[in-house]
């Protein structure tokens, strides 16, 4: 009897890719920083003695070296409970993103329900939903901020609303598709019980839409994160990764920009992974198929 191949732990493949990136990091860094390093050496006022050594300590490297990045992260993450750290600002952005996702999910469920309710409502609403996605978010954000500011809405909410604005599209389209994909026999079954429309919706359509809903939520989570950072940049804000990004880029602080970028990437990965976990718990009944 052939032995089954040894099971690969799920964390191994991504870790291997991570290792490859680390291996490529230094060569790539050397390549991109080489000319800057030559200039630095030519000026003669740096405490490095070769192009190779200088490439590790440029003030504004295109790609920072591992020690530079670690030092940059340490500087931006301390003191731990200050409101200037990249972690605190990351939390602000995360809060806006989660708020946006919650709004998008509510709005998405609502529009999806309207979309599947009747052909007429679909023909009325769908073009507007599609059109809404063609408004450049960067242009829309300040308008929304001023509009909401008039009514005293400030803080996380305006950015959450911008995040929701772009995140709700995949959700409403995905949920609508899910709500429609009920097998006809199951609809017949509910019909024989003389079930009301809301009963069919809650006990049949929603559970069947759940897998597509969660997949759409993952796409939306990434979009909402981008949305809230864009909103922070285009609406005047004092906290979040967006303003940090803006000021670091003003001072061409490449190390700082890399740190912020990596924190944002970490947030995105964390969000999608959390939804993945949620999916595994909620869709236990799909695993055995």
């Amino acid at each position: 009897m052939p032995n089954p191949p040894p099971a690969t732990p799920p964390w191994l493949p991504p870790l291997l890719v991570g290792g490859a990136i680390l291996l490529l990091w230094v060569p790539l860094m050397l390549l991109t920083n080489w000319s800057g390093s030559q200039d630095l050496l030519a000026r003669g006022n740096a405490d490095c003695s070769s192009v190779f050594a200088c490439a590790f300590q440029l003030r504004n490297p295109i790609i920072p070296s591992p020690p530079q990045l670690l030092r940059g992260f340490y500087q931006m993450a301390t003191p731990l409970f200050s409101t200037d750290t990249v972690l605190f600002n990351g939390l602000i952005t995360l809060g806006e993103t989660l708020l946006g996702l919650a709004l998008a999910l509510t709005l998405g469920l609502l529009t999806a329900t309207l979309l599947v309710m009747s052909r007429a409502s679909e023909r009325m609403i769908l073009p507007w939903i599609v059109a809404s996605q063609n408004v450049p978010i960067v242009a829309l954000a300040p308008v929304l901020a001023v509009l909401l500011g008039q009514y005293g809405v400030q803080g996380l909410l305006p950015k959450g609303i911008v995040a929701a604005y772009i995140a709700f599209f995949p959700l409403s389209i995905g949920i609508a598709k899910g709500l429609r994909s009920v097998p006809s026999l199951q609809l017949d079954l509910m019909h024989t019980y003389h079930a009301r429309a809301w009963q069919v919706y809650v006990w049949l359509r929603l559970p069947i839409a759940l897998p597509i809903l969660l997949t759409s939520l993952k796409i939306s989570a990434a979009m909402a994160l981008v949305g809230s950072i864009v909103a922070e940049i285009s609406i005047v804000s004092f906290a979040g990764l967006g303003p940090m990004l803006l000021s670091r880029s003003y001072y061409s602080d490449m190390v700082g920009l890399w740190v912020i970028m990596l924190v944002a990437a970490g947030l995105g990965i964390g969000l999608v992974q959390s939804i993945d976990l949620l999916e595994k718990r909620l869709l236990f009944w799909q695993r055995q198929r």
Binding site: P183, L185, M190, H191, T192, A195, W203, L204
Partner: protein
């Protein structure tokens, strides 16, 4: 009421002196329009009267309209012509009054619900009090021999067990009529015979009126009080054969010489299909 001007119309009345029929099908036709071709006649002037407590087997090859007739009884399809009455009501009214339970060819269980929760579904729809519906669902699962599988999900049950859950679900709200559309068609021979015995036991215990669609001559004769033989193109009733095998039936029935006579008789009336 025989319409002599129409040779296709076959009226099969109950013997004199029996109570008023529970289900009456009168001159029912169903025609499906097909784009760019001749319409398909799924049912052609079908008439049938069924008394309460009868077990009616509908048999015939694919396309003879058995399922269509069942779906019309259940108000899942509307007849093009003719009328159907169940306990003096239209199919729509009968459905709204939850007079019948429908059992599909596939178990049609909701995968995210356990066996118990699946049986609870119709009772939830019908808004039974929580304690009462739980007790009823438990009783029903016990009735179909699944008392040890309350908390199993459909994918943790065999095909036969899944179909038993769907039968328990259809019986849960105590409808007078059971409409069964080839419920055991997907099961293996041995499981099928076991399910036949269980269904007989259920029928004897509950006195339901059952309409049972099948492809199997043996199954039809073994279970029913009357076999309705249907032929296709167009779908109509060829013959109705009363089954006078003694009740209660069981293993002995399969060995009864009368059983062979009756299956042969059903086969004979299906002859034109084989020709």
């Amino acid at each position: 009421m025989t319409n002599l001007t129409d040779p296709c119309l076959l009226t099969h009345s109950q013997p004199q002196g029996s109570p008023a029929p529970l289900v009456t099908v009168q001159g029912v036709s169903k025609i499906y329009p097909v784009l760019g071709r001749d319409p398909v006649v799924a049912l052609h002037h079908v008439s049938l009267e069924v008394a309460a407590g009868e077990f009616i087997a509908l048999i015939g090859p694919s396309g003879c309209g058995k399922t269509t007739l069942l779906r019309i009884l259940a108000d899942l399809d509307q007849p093009t012509q003719g009328t159907v009455q169940m306990a003096g009501r239209s199919p729509q009214q009968a459905r709204q009054d939850r007079l019948y339970g429908y059992i599909f060819q596939a178990p049609t269980l909701l995968e995210w619900r356990t066996a118990l929760q699946n049986v609870l579904l119709p009772l939830q729809v019908m808004n039974w009090p929580a304690a009462e519906r739980l007790e009823k669902a438990r009783t029903m699962l016990k009735l179909v021999g699944l008392e040890l599988f309350h908390h199993n999900y459909p994918w943790q049950l065999s095909g036969g067990m899944q179909q038993r859950v769907s039968i328990a679900r259809a019986l849960a709200f105590d409808p007078d009529v059971l409409l069964m559309d080839e419920p055991f068609g997907a099961l293996d021979e041995i499981t099928r015979e076991k399910m036949n015995l269980e269904l007989l036991r259920l029928w004897e215990a509950t006195h339901k009126t059952i309409f049972f669609v099948t492809h199997s001559i043996q199954e039809a004769v073994f279970l029913s009080t009357r076999v309705v033989v249907m032929t296709p193109n167009p779908g109509q009733i060829a013959q109705i054969i009363p089954i006078d095998l003694p009740q209660p039936r069981g293993f002995e029935t399969w060995k009864d010489p009368r059983f062979f006579q009756l299956t042969t008789q059903v086969l004979e009336s299906l002859r034109e299909v084989y020709a």
